[in-house]
């Protein structure tokens, strides 16, 4: 069935990337940053250097493997931050209403008016490039959808019987939000989270490509492609593998997200983003 | 009733294809409607009454399909009519109105145009002529200020109004048969009676036969001369409305009649619990063996669990399907 295929293929692809990242130190042939031997610069793929070498003589295969760690870290952590921010804002806005709701809704609309890459760019502009800055920047840009979802779910669940019952029983607001409301919206949140991870990986790659994310010599797939651009006439193979890695990772996450959506959120009318 | 009946359904079987298996959602259903006659079809949700109606107008879509029996409309078997010809029949000689007036009309098109379409499609009218005829049609269904409302969009109308538009569309070309699938279920109670009256008046004025489908036995009894009761894809009883109320023969019918809350019953009979039929309608994939009603039936005996009762004809034009009828 179509549904299973999504989940299966997506899961497998993502698992491969995760394993590659986790086992990178074991699977890699060289140190991705230090082992740079200009004698082997720009070697095409071969027996010794499976994916070839770059302009600094570094083994691309090892760099791609280690790049998985960076991309996955950014993808998972930043999306986690996004989800937490989105859920906190959306839940509280929907639950308490009033001026707080107005404020959060206004903020959400504002965020939606600014293209996310531009916003991330702006934040990276004032922070020093690096992993932490990247996590902060990406963690602050993609929470709008989760927020809207959480708010909408809260508004519709708020009037349910069991929530009223909990209030009458004297549960504190926070307790109600966490124990009654949150569990009932986990499905769609997980779906958006998974798809968002794919987006975060792409965003990190883009920012690093622009030189505003992870800077060389660290093996970010994005910055590797930026180098590759300069070498495109002399060593075109450098362009293939980092990009392929990004593609496989994001494809896996997208398929996984789609598959999860079919299970967890069947009547979802959210746009397929 | 003399002459050929307008509609004759013989042993209709409608099946649902799931993977490689065929489930028979409707089986062995036979009914007849004479010209100008009103037949009611009653049953709970899921008993197959709606898909029977869809089969009659040829609107079943995969995974549902007619897999057996004959549907004779004016002597011709609908199953053998090629699609192009069937389209000429639809809306023109057989019409259907549906349950949800809220969503049954195209939201982007003025209602006048949606009615006018009928005249252009089937009567060869030009759009100008058709627009004028549409205003007349709206007046016929008692919509006030029809010349203005003709330009309204569906969302500007109430549910009752939209249902009137639906009726106008369905009766525009003077069809011989109108299939009404729960036309009032989604409407306010006060509006329900108006709509039913409208259907009754217009159909008798135009000589249109009506198949009225509902889960409401009271409503059906008011509108129809004869009533068929459906359960789990079978017609379990078919009698005149009077007979069904006075002396229901099938345990299911008895249950339905008994569960109708009656005004003044408490004064007459004292306090009684609201009667209900225990259990739920079985899904198509899990029909019980033997008589399909047996798990919910008070009178079920061994034979009921093994053998599906066949049709027993009762006197003049009545039938029942039960081992213990009577």
């Amino acid at each position: 069935m179509k549904i299973r295929a999504n989940l299966l293929i997506g899961g497998v692809l993502f698992a491969i990337v995760v394993v590659a990242g986790l086992l990178a130190p074991l699977l890699a042939h060289t140190d991705p940053v230090m082992d740079a031997n200009l004698m082997y610069a720009e070697e095409p793929p071969g027996a010794e250097f499976w994916f070839g070498t770059d302009a600094q003589g570094r083994d691309i295969y090892s760099r791609v493997l280690h790049g998985a760690r960076i991309s996955l870290t950014v993808g998972i952590v930043s999306q986690l931050i996004n989800t937490i921010i989105g859920v906190c804002l959306g839940l509280s806005a929907g639950y308490w209403g009033g001026w707080w709701d107005d404020f959060v809704s206004g903020l959400t609309n504002l965020m939606l008016a600014i293209p996310s890459l531009i916003f991330a760019l702006a934040i990276m502009a004032i922070l020093n490039p690096g992993l932490t800055s990247l996590l902060i920047a990406l963690g602050l840009t993609n929470w709008s959808f989760t927020c809207r979802l959480a708010r909408a779910s809260t508004l519709s669940l708020k009037s349910q019987g069991y929530v009223q019952a909990a209030k009458v029983l004297g549960y504190s607001d926070i307790r109600i939000m966490l124990t009654q409301l949150l569990p009932n919206m986990l499905g769609p949140i997980i779906v958006i989270g998974t798809l968002g991870m794919g987006g975060a990986v792409l965003a990190e790659a883009s920012l690093s490509f622009l030189g505003l994310g992870i800077r060389p010599p660290y093996p970010s797939w994005g910055s590797m492609l930026s180098d590759a651009r300069d070498q495109i006439t002399t060593a075109p193979w450098i362009s293939i593998f980092p990009g392929l890695a990004i593609f496989v990772t994001v494809l896996g996450l997208n398929l996984l997200g789609d598959g999860l959506r079919d299970i967890l959120d069947p009547q979802s009318r959210t746009r397929r983003i | 009733m003399t002459g050929l009946p307008l509609l004759e359904v013989k042993n209709l079987q409608i099946s649902l294809a799931v993977g490689n298996t065929l489930f028979h959602a409707v089986e062995n259903v036979s009914l007849t409607i004479g010209r100008g006659e009103t037949l009611g079809l009653v049953g709970e949700s899921g008993c197959g009454k709606s898909i029977t109606a869809l089969a009659l107008i040829g609107l079943l879509r995969p995974p549902l399909a007619v897999t057996g029996g004959e549907i004779l409309f004016d002597g011709r078997d609908i199953r053998t009519i090629p699609p192009r010809e069937m389209r000429k029949l639809r809306g023109n000689r057989i019409s259907m109105i549906f349950q949800e007036p809220m969503t049954a009309l195209n939201p982007l098109s003025p209602v006048g145009r949606q009615i006018a379409e009928m005249f252009v499609l089937h009567k060869g009218a030009t759009w100008n002529e058709a627009e004028k005829l549409a205003i007349e049609a709206l007046a016929n269904v008692r919509v006030p200020a029809p010349d203005r409302r003709v330009k309204d969009y569906p969302h500007q109308m109430s549910g009752g109004m939209r249902q009137r538009v639906m009726i106008a569309i369905a009766l525009a070309c003077g069809p011989d048969l109108l299939l009404a699938d729960e036309p009032t279920t989604a409407l306010d109670v006060t509006v329900q009676a108006e709509i039913l009256d409208l259907i009754r008046e217009l159909s008798s004025a135009q000589g249109t036969a009506v198949l009225m489908i509902s889960h409401d036995l009271g409503l059906i009894a008011n509108m129809c001369r004869r009533v068929g009761v459906m359960y789990a894809g079978h017609i379990v009883e078919e009698r005149t409305a009077e007979d069904i109320f006075r002396s229901p023969r099938h345990p299911y019918t008895k249950g339905l009649v008994a569960s109708l809350p009656l005004l003044g019953a408490r004064a007459r009979h004292g306090r009684k619990r609201l009667q209900e039929i225990e259990g739920v309608v079985p899904p198509v994939s899990a029909f019980p063996s033997g008589c399909r009603f047996n798990p919910r039936c008070h009178m079920a005996s061994d034979i009921c669990r093994i053998e599906d009762p066949g049709i027993t004809l009762l006197g003049q034009s009545g039938l029942v399907r039960c081992h213990h009828h009577g």
Binding site: I114, A122, S206, G243, V250 | Y153
Partner: protein, 311 residues
Amino acid sequence: MAAFLLRRLLQTLPILLAVALIIFILFSVIPGTFASSMSDDGRSVIDAQVMERMNKEFGFNDPVYVRFGKYVAQLVQLDLGTSFRTRQPVTKVLAERMWPTLLLTFASMLFSIVIGVPLGFIAALRPGSWIDTLSMVGAVSGLSLPKFWLGLLMMYLFALVLGWLPSFGYGDGSLRYLILPSIALGVAPMALLARTTRAAVLEIMNADFVRTARAKGMSERKVVQWHLTRNALVIVLTTIGLQFGTVIGQAVVIEKLFSWPGLGSLLVDSVTLRDIPVVQGAILLIVLSFLVINTLVDVLCAIIDPRIKYT
């Protein structure tokens, strides 16, 4: 209708102001931004006197609200300040770069609509067929491709190996230079539109009013033409509006890759060189463009869909 347009445009003003505020907070208030921008420029530690002079010149010693007031006042007069780098008015710098970005954005959206929407239609009208499966697999792949990777590969193949198209730059503004960048930028929106259109068409095919249309005796072709297309388009149009925003944002990367002289590459260069006024101005302009385009799309929706009240 004009009133509706005006009203919607006015609604965008508060958002614009809020964005201006955020930008102001990010770049002008956070301490050290200015100082670091100067040192990153290659100069060594700034002489305290020079620093003091610059502070005076740019008004960094004034209290925050005064600075913001000045900032807004300048904005209203369409004065976005002066570029640190080139000493030219920011407005001039932006104006030069505006058209290439608009061109690129519209070209890629055109590409994505022209290919994506029909693809989605065809896939939905034959659900489960090989066309459907292939399109949807293609769509999800298109969404997962890094744009700049695709651009790089296309650049290699079509420009360097085959030599059919130029590999970078705006050139003389002719179409040849536009093709590679707009395709690279447009593939992802195309994939999304294909999926959205497919979902919309499927939803409508099963809608009640389509059933009514069939019951009227309408041919399947007429049903598709008259009922399906317009109703599906309404849904798709909203997605197109949102996609403009994504495309404008992503254009940054493509512009850098292809050395396309637009706002995006300007933004990146300015960020790298810490040319704050240009960064602020570029972001404002980009957001403004998105808001205007979105409003126009909304108006288009209102024209097609009578359910949206526009009086």
